[in-house]
Amino acid sequence: MSENPVPPAAAAAPAELPVLRIRDLRTHFFTGQGVVKAVDGVDLEVHKGEVLGIVGESGSGKSVTALSIMQLVASPPGRIVSGRIELDGLDMVKLDAAAMRRIRGKRISMIFQDPLASLNPVLRIGFQLGEVFRHHLGLEKRQAVTEAERMLRAMDIPSPATRVRNYPHQLSGGMRQRAMIAMALSCKPELLIADEPTTALDVTVQAQVLNLMKQVCREHRTALVLITHDMGVIANMCERVAVMYAGKVVEYTDVRTLFRRPGHPYAAGLLRSLPRLGGNARRLQSIEGQPPRLTRLPPGCAYAPRCPRAQPRCREEAPELVRLRPGQEVRCHFPLEGSLEGSLQGSPQGPLEGALEGSLHRPIPAALHAAPNAAPGAAR
């Protein structure tokens, strides 16, 4: 599918050029065991100020998609085989290394999962944050550290003057991730990619960090790509969601539709495996089986071996991403038509709103709902 047969749902949105437009991205890893098609034909779009969630199991290709955008896929063995990744219309796949270095950290930034591992243990926080200013804005070392201090203050980190002289191990987990966010936002990027930014954090801190990200992105109208496996985070942070499975987007829709009327059986399975408050305290549902091995994908739909609705056709013919409803695209021969509870055959779940709220009834989303629009000392 070199030309996408279906116009992406986001195309229906304003005619403004998207900040990020990915077309038919394929990133493969050439290993001794064969070619791993980690990302295999992904189309995505993110507009200014929009939050796109990418959700999926480990190995679904969501992190590789993020690294592909940054052009930081380890090579060898990985390589972007084909596709376009446009930043404001500029195809970054074609850029040389030097041009890409001018974009990284300046126009696109990335926040990683484990803030302790992502910071250099032997360099001071101020130095590491200051590097961005020195590299992209040509500041002197002293000035850069002063700017780093200013960024830390903007992230509500107490006593930033001390913190810039600290090493990463002297900061708490939440503070480290705030420092990472500060680093990522130093040059006011157009696009921020956050790869499971709260997975390694305490639940109580997760809310603060997500809140902060949401707030600063809103202030600068920074587009945010949020990668997570946490449906609660998706529900509260994102406007649009791409569900990935085995290197492909299997459902691409807005967050409301995803939670009410998921079209792909896998998306429905993910929602069903959410723990819920209220309703029957029955055994937690899960998706049977394991994600497929990417070196040996079945010829048909990659989800077919685990899919409760699979038909013979699913095992033979790979489905394309097609429009199910306006603003909802699904890669399935037999998409779910009704609302989520209609598709839950024989399961005693309460109403869908319960499902949504159940996932929200945890510290993160609750705190997010209560998020004040302008926290004191917010990013400027």
Partner: protein
Amino acid sequence: MLRYILLRLLGLVPVLFGVSVLVFVAIWVIPGDIVDIMMGDEVAQSEKAMQRLRAQLNLDQPIWMRYLLWVGNALRGDLGVSMISGEPVLDQILERAPVNLQLVLIAMVFIIVIGIPLGTLAAYKQFTWVDNSIRVGAIFGYVIPNFWLATIAVLIVSLYFPRATVLDYVPFSKDPIANIKGLLIPGFVLALTTLSYIVRLTRSTVLDTLRLDYVRTARAKGLGERVVMSTHVLKNSLIPVVTVLGIQVGVLIGGLVLTEEVFMLPGIGRMILLSIEARDFMVLAGGVLFLGVVFVLVNLVIDILYAFLDPRITY
């Protein structure tokens, strides 16, 4: 930091005690009568002469007393006198120590200036011909025996560069340039084993570091590869390398004995060898104790350096 250094210094006391006991036991608790060995067959073994020698060496005292006397004198800077020449042992050591210091320093410079960059280059060019040649070269460098290389080096230099001064030691005070020139080849021979080891160690630690998350973060900031290498990768990779370098000083000191012998350098290694041949036990004990103390002190410096490299070390 000061507290850390003081604690480390305090920790030296038991270590140095252990070193002195080991040296004493190894040399003095040799089977047979030392006086017999020392006097040999030729000397008329008059009972009186032997008694006098025993008293002079404190051999009539119990062993713990002998140890205390030896250590007590050593602490006051008196390592006894040579049983052959009657010269104070400490004077001999101090006279010869500069040669050793120079040799070890030259070897260290070779190891650091060649080993670490080569290892880093190999890691950066992993699995290319550059990496492969460096790795194969390092294996050869590691397995070639010191004495063989030393002999071959002497042979080649004497045959093909007759005007080179390979076996004539020139004191530093006389002609510093000729002195250093003369020590380059012995220094390299001494360095080679450790050098090869450091190449491989640096390669693997740099490879380990390159895989870490913060290197990815550095790249995500838009930093160039050279900056990523020099500021983010190298400092972290050097922490284990520095530790090993400290331990390898021991290997270098061991190598001194052989290198000095082949290149006929008047260092402590040669002094120790001669003292073994001549059964000059006072000199032997003093020399070994001196090298042991130097080794311990070098590792103290390494420990302190380590704390500078890695801020996570608590002191």
